[in-house]
């Protein structure tokens, strides 16, 4: 049986040979072990080093903005399209860009893969008690090899936190699907951490978030990685007038994070990328999750953040109760 990686290479080869794309975006191995990094192939040869496995990967959707910047408004020739490896969560990001009129669906080729959740190497290391030298992943288990002993861990134990709350385990529609098998992640909406914070008194809550935001070094990685953050010019980059002081006072931190949270409210698809890229581990997922939870409750939608033409915060109804 062909592995997913082999299937991908075959499909990509066909795309290039038939002159159907100018670029393929996927993953390759990084410099450090177990790291998977974005890779860009402009011909089949460059795609040969690309792989698909179950280690944690960065999101690719955001790169479409830059790669299709020059043609944002028009449909390109077939040979100028960009193909992108797409998991369910990536698909939500891509849909976001399409719904927001940043890119056109016609200009991309979605190469879909089902996903059962990605492996968190940090969790595996913790369970092993040291840094794993080798990690092999099979259908159900992860085998982490340490200096002297090996540990067999069930996948469920080391799957990334964000994957536990996955709302789309394979792209809803695609041009090419690399595997038919539907992933069987159990969707598990977990708002328990958010409920814990809701139960805090206002003072406790303020202290909690102050502590988190005071750690913020304002590197803007959360913004730069987020597909919902797709403004051509971000207000935090505008120097005149300066919307955000360069000084990193707590009040400014609150303002930065709140504005960002409100800006992506109803558009955040819970991909968890902001939390992953944060160098000081601010639990941004809780902030965005709270807004998602409220939208789901107030607008009676099952899942806030699924990009569509009509969204809870993107439409107005004449019979709106105007409760606020």
């Amino acid at each position: 049986m062909m592995t997913m990686t082999e299937k991908m290479r075959e499909q990509v080869k066909e795309l290039f040979v038939n002159n159907e794309i100018k670029l393929f975006i996927g993953f390759e191995k990084g410099f450090t072990k177990f790291s998977r990094i974005p890779a860009f192939a402009e011909n089949y040869d460059e795609a040969k080093k690309m792989i698909i496995d179950e280690f944690e990967t960065p999101f690719l959707a955001k790169y479409l903005i830059r790669e299709l910047e020059e043609v944002a408004a028009g449909i390109v020739e077939k040979s100028e399209r960009v193909a992108i490896l797409t998991r369910g969560c990536d698909y939500l990001g891509i849909r976001r860009l399409i719904v927001d009129n940043i890119i056109l669906r016609e200009n991309i080729v979605i190469v879909g893969i089902p996903c059962d959740g990605l492996i968190d190497v940090k969790k595996a290391n913790k369970l092993l008690g040291e840094e794993a030298r080798e990690i092999t992943i099979d259908e159900e288990n992860v085998i982490a090899k340490g200096k002297t002993e090996n540990k067999i861990i069930s996948k469920a134990e080391v799957v990334l936190d964000r994957c536990r709350q996955c709302i789309m385990c394979e792209p809803k529609e695609s041009d090419i699907m690399l595997a038919e098998k539907t992933a069987n992640v159990k969707k598990n909406k977990d708002y328990s951490k958010i409920e814990e914070i809701e139960k805090m008194s206002a003072k406790e809550r303020y202290e909690f978030w102050s502590r988190q935001f005071e750690r913020c070094i304002r590197c803007f990685a959360c913004r730069d990685a987020c597909t919902a953050c797709n403004c051509r010019k971000c207000i935090f980059d505008i120097t005149e007038p300066e919307m955000l002081e360069k000084t990193v006072a707590t009040s400014e931190q609150f303002m930065f994070h709140f504005i960002r949270a409100f800006h992506v409210a109803g558009r955040c698809s819970a991909c968890g990328e902001c939390e992953r890229v944060c160098p000081v581990d601010i639990p941004l997922g809780l902030l965005n999750g709270k807004l998602r939870k409220d939208i789901e409750f107030l607008f009676n939608v099952e899942e806030a953040g699924i990009p569509s033409e009509i969204e809870p915060l993107g439409e107005f109804k004449l019979d709106d109760p105007d409760e606020w």
Binding site: T32, I217, C219, F220, K246, T247, V280, P283
Partner: protein
Amino acid sequence: MNKLLRSNVSCLLKKLSEHTEIYASTEEDGVCILAKLDNYEEWTMNYVRTANSVKDVFFPQNEEIMKYKDASSDLKIEAPKPFKERIAFGVRPCDAAAMLLLDDVFLKGEFYDSYYKERREKGTIITIACEKPDQHCFCTSFDLSPGATEGSDIVLYPTEDFFLVVEVTEKGKKLIKDNAELFEDIGAKPEIVDSYKNMRTVLGDVCIPNDLNEKLKGEFDNSYWKKIARRCLGCGNCTFVCPTCHCFAVCDVARGCDGKRARTWDSCKFQDFFLMAGDHNPRPTQIERTRQRFMHKLNYFKEKYDKYQCIGCGRCVEKCPVGVHIADVITHMKEEL
């Protein structure tokens, strides 16, 4: 050489705090950071590297240069208060060595930075040697080691039940003498120190050729910059966590007639870093910005100070969301040029 019992560390920190500000590694919501310590029991050794580096203690992200009041009528200008004595505790050897690079920038030469100078003069660095370097560490590539003493005043070498204390500078010696009751002389134990100094990092030696900067000189338009910049998201993560990156901006913050002038970190990764009046940007895309970061570290800094501006702490590598790796750059350039 002295020994310091692990159980005496909190005691020492408490005693030192009577006259000084203590910055130590502490855990906050599962993140290990170097921060001002109020509770001396809270220091931890549960980290390979803290999320922020010791740079924060001597060159903070935010610093007030002056305050002004009532600019409309009777202008009053207030200078910042003199800094307190400060001790950074639990610093890693790589971070301590990075301070020597910042010294080159801020203290050596015709001009010096008075704020930085005052903090450095009033500061003491107590380093803890690394027991377990992780996969991101590569300090041995820069003639350092998990037991290096460069830049530290005192180095503590952990053993099973105590710290072996090595004083490096006069400042360190004095600190031990002033708190002699907490230390115990156990004579020379070079084997412990050597075991740390001979330790190799997992990544091994990247081996930077001494003339890499010369070779990089002609590589302004190398296609490799384009290749890695394509991945770069353009966040300032790598530069802010780096203990040797030192670019800053000065800004005025006004509220009515009152205001302040502040110095803040800035990052060559940001699009507005090079933005000039008239909206001209000499480094308009991520390609030029990425090149700038690596050229500064591996070429310009070496030209000026005869050292590479990296100590292999591995922070940028660990924190980069898309796996841009300076050792990868060095290895690639070494092979290509």
